[in-house]
């Protein structure tokens, strides 16, 4: 079979005349993937920490609500959740809020829906890690805190959470990697992130191999950078005396 390899295609100006090269398109997608994943990750950490803590509290109502939250977000496919956020939630909001959303810039709409969707999807997984981190602590720690006269919130704040946070860093690394990979799903609602740009490149350049190889390498690059970064963080927070500790 005769295929014309042409890596120079990335330096050509685009066919739409928007003063960008095809490499510029890829760069735009790359930045979009990074911005989306990082912003969603911050929300996921915050929400996941709260939900994870609530799953371990003695109050049946609070832990029940937290469990239901986790089950809902873990048992519906990400793609379905994304479509629910993008197509359904704006319809279910009070009319003025829904209309306000629909009148904003379409790119902002796609970005917001994707961000909220990825954030809450990931927060359920973060919550599970937080819960297992807290449950892995020896029960004596909580009892000792309470015996010292700390209230339950104080025991969490000063005794259990500082330990649990350090223990869950390694499992959170894989969730952090996942959020970058999952962000590719957002190409389905038209957000021009990395995977979507790859697809567009195939359509416009007719050089499918170069386009997909470039996008795949970009994802590998993100993966490697995150892995090395997190390895550094893991070394920094390691707890002496635990497996993998100093």
């Amino acid at each position: 079979m005769a295929y014309n390899w042409n890596w120079g295609v990335f330096l050509q100006p685009t066919a739409t005349g928007d003063e960008s090269t095809y490499f510029g398109w890829m760069l735009y997608g790359f930045k979009m993937t990074i911005a989306l994943s990082l912003s969603a990750w911050l929300i996921a950490l915050a929400v996941g920490a709260v939900v994870g803590v609530l799953r371990t509290v003695p109050n049946k109502w609070l832990s029940g609500i937290a469990t239901a939250y986790v089950e809902v977000f873990r048992n519906i496919p990400l793609l379905v959740q994304l479509f629910l956020w993008y197509f359904v939630i704006p319809e279910l909001l009070p009319e003025n809020l829904g209309n306000a959303f629909k009148q904003t810039n379409p790119i902002l709409q796609q970005f917001l829906a994707s961000m909220v969707c990825l954030a809450l999807f990931t927060s359920a997984r973060v919550a599970e890690q937080v819960r297992s981190g807290i449950n892995s602590l020896p029960p004596g720690q909580k009892n000792a805190g309470l015996a010292m006269g700390f209230t339950l919130p104080q025991t969490y704040r000063h005794v259990m959470l500082p330990m649990a946070v350090r223990l869950i860093v390694p499992p959170l690394t894989s969730e952090f990697l996942n959020i970058f990979k999952n962000s590719a799903v957002c190409s389905t609602i038209g957000l021009l992130e990395l995977a979507a740009q790859g697809r567009q490149l195939v359509d416009y350049t007719a050089q499918p191999y170069e386009s997909f190889i470039a996008v795949t390498v970009a994802y590998l690059l993100i993966n490697v950078v995150v892995m090395f970064g997190m390895r550094w963080v893991e070394g920094y927070v390691r707890v002496p005396g635990y497996i993998g500790g100093k």
């Binding site: 389905t188 997909f212 490697v224």
Partner: protein
Amino acid sequence: MHDYDWSSIPNSLPFLWDGMKISLEITLSAVVFGIIWGTLLALMRLSPVKPLSWFAAGYVNLFRAVPLVMVLLWFFLIVPRLLESLLGLPRGTDMRLASAIAGFALFEAAYYSEIIRAGIQSVPKGQMGAASALGMTYGQAMRLVVLPQAFRNMVPLLLTQGIILFQDTSLVYVSALADFFGAAYKVGDRDGRLVELLLFAGAVYFVLCFTASRIVRHYQNRLKTA
């Protein structure tokens, strides 16, 4: 607020069921092929032959670093064309279902192989030693002694991965293949009832996956006490 009208769901149930059959077909085939290929990968990874173990490690790390959507796009846009030109098939042969199954199986095999590798390593070393002492070859010891015990411990994890795979099959949406989610979207789009159909699809996925994961958990607990 939205005016609900659920009437388009009962009429399109047969169409939605056809979609569900495609989702299940992809899931089951990908689970079966993924476990077979994943077992081979795990054995290669643990094998003393260095090139085999490098290949398996490279394969697993590559597939785990790339988004599933990207893998599926490779399989929908590029692999069919490649096969057409290699095998001389007529242009535009519909290989979407076959490519979907192949893509999912090759992708999931990377995840299965990690589960299986951990399972094999969890079998005490003495088992392998005892089998060797009885005169079994490496292959016999693996097949008759180590793998059966490893698989017994792995069943819950393999099933959980299967549930995740079932959720991920909705991503064949990128190829316009009408799986359950694709069918629901099409009906909603046709009748202008996207809100109802998407809510319905979400509810169906939730009920199925929630029930399945409860059953797996029940089985897991029974395994622990046994």
